[in-house]
Subunit: 209 residues, 2 copies
């Protein structure tokens, strides 16, 4: 079954993709009329899409002025990672350890694909799989708001990971390994070990990958 994708949503996806891939680097100004012409839609549609991106923290809208792609400072990076850490940490304190068998299966599958993506140096896949991996944990917690809030941060996290990886040339294999430690901790049902691994994942190893 096909799902409806409204124009604003489609535009939003495209713009998000461009921002995350640095085709629209930080500080780039987004002019409604230009984008409208490029995509062949009305300005209202672009406007709508830009609101979403603003909510995700990818762009900043200065009323009556301009919209601009957000530049993330080192401090911002730390801030996003910390927030994500807090949410995930809280999520695993809730019902995760009871019904974790299927969760583990999902995590293992994601890990397998992630390993392959790391070998192929496929950045897109890595970022997407990282999202899936962590989201699985949030889903299992059954806390809807925690998951919603986490999702809000996700785009910013994606932007962060890409830029960090490209800039500092992070070792993808090591990143995958860190996820494996998390999955191991979940499988072992060791919440203390898990928390420590999560802390390392986000607070120490920087871009949370």
């Amino acid at each position: 079954m096909l799902e409806h994708v409204s124009l604003p949503e489609a535009v939003g996806r495209e713009l998000r993709h461009r921002i995350l891939n640095n085709e629209l680097p930080a500080e780039t100004r987004l002019v409604e009329a230009n984008l409208a012409a490029e995509f062949g839609v009305s300005r209202g549609t672009i406007r709508d899409a830009m609101r979403s991106l603003q909510a995700e923290g990818l762009i900043a809208i200065v009323p009556r002025r301009y919209s601009v792609v957000t530049r993330m400072s080192q401090e911002d990076a730390e801030d996003v990672c910390y927030a994500r850490y807090v949410l995930e940490n809280a999520a695993v304190s809730n019902g995760l350890w009871e019904q974790r068998s299927e969760l583990v299966a999902g995590l293992r599958e994601a890990l397998t694909e992630m390993t392959a993506a790391a070998e192929a140096n496929d950045m897109d896949a890595i970022v997407e799989l990282d999202t899936r991996f962590h989201q699985l944990m949030l889903d299992t917690s059954g806390r809807r708001r925690l998951k919603d809030l986490w999702s809000m941060l996700n785009s910013q996290m994606g932007a962060l990971m890409r830029s960090e990886i490209e800039r500092q040339g992070i070792d993808l294999a090591e990143a995958v390994e860190r996820h494996r430690v998390l999955a191991d901790a979940v499988e072992a049902g060791d919440s203390v070990k898990f928390r420590e691994a999560l802390r390392l994942h986000y607070v120490e190893g920087f871009p949370g990958l």
Copy 2:
């Protein structure tokens, strides 16, 4: 200095107010054209405002169908409270205890006003002061994302408090007292006591007031 209030923002405020005051009860359908006529603005403006309310979780927009005021279940209430608890708990673990003198002053002031509002049975003021009280703590933490996420939940929290207070006739004086315990814990610099008080505040005493 004056600040600009765009039409969508003004409309959003009014609608938010109506929802929080149950003038627009849960399940009410919001029809763009009707609201546009009532406020004397265009439908696009209403649309914009409704997007904000959706982001705040106050209404649900079903694409191409309708928009409807959200009904919160008991489960939702618990869920929102828990998320708020998680965020505040994390916030106080960061830099709050170092520079807490001015924070305490702010909390005390809010408490004083809250006491007066409770005696006057002024619901609007109570809800607003509760927001201020808790936001002060978030602000002091210096973690921007935690604060942003917390803000997202705030409207839902307001809706919750009102409905709970009206339904169950919660003792306002006791609610104020619980805030006082929190302020005391901050002043004493006792993080253990604070955490416990916060847990009681949200997880036990229900609508987090």
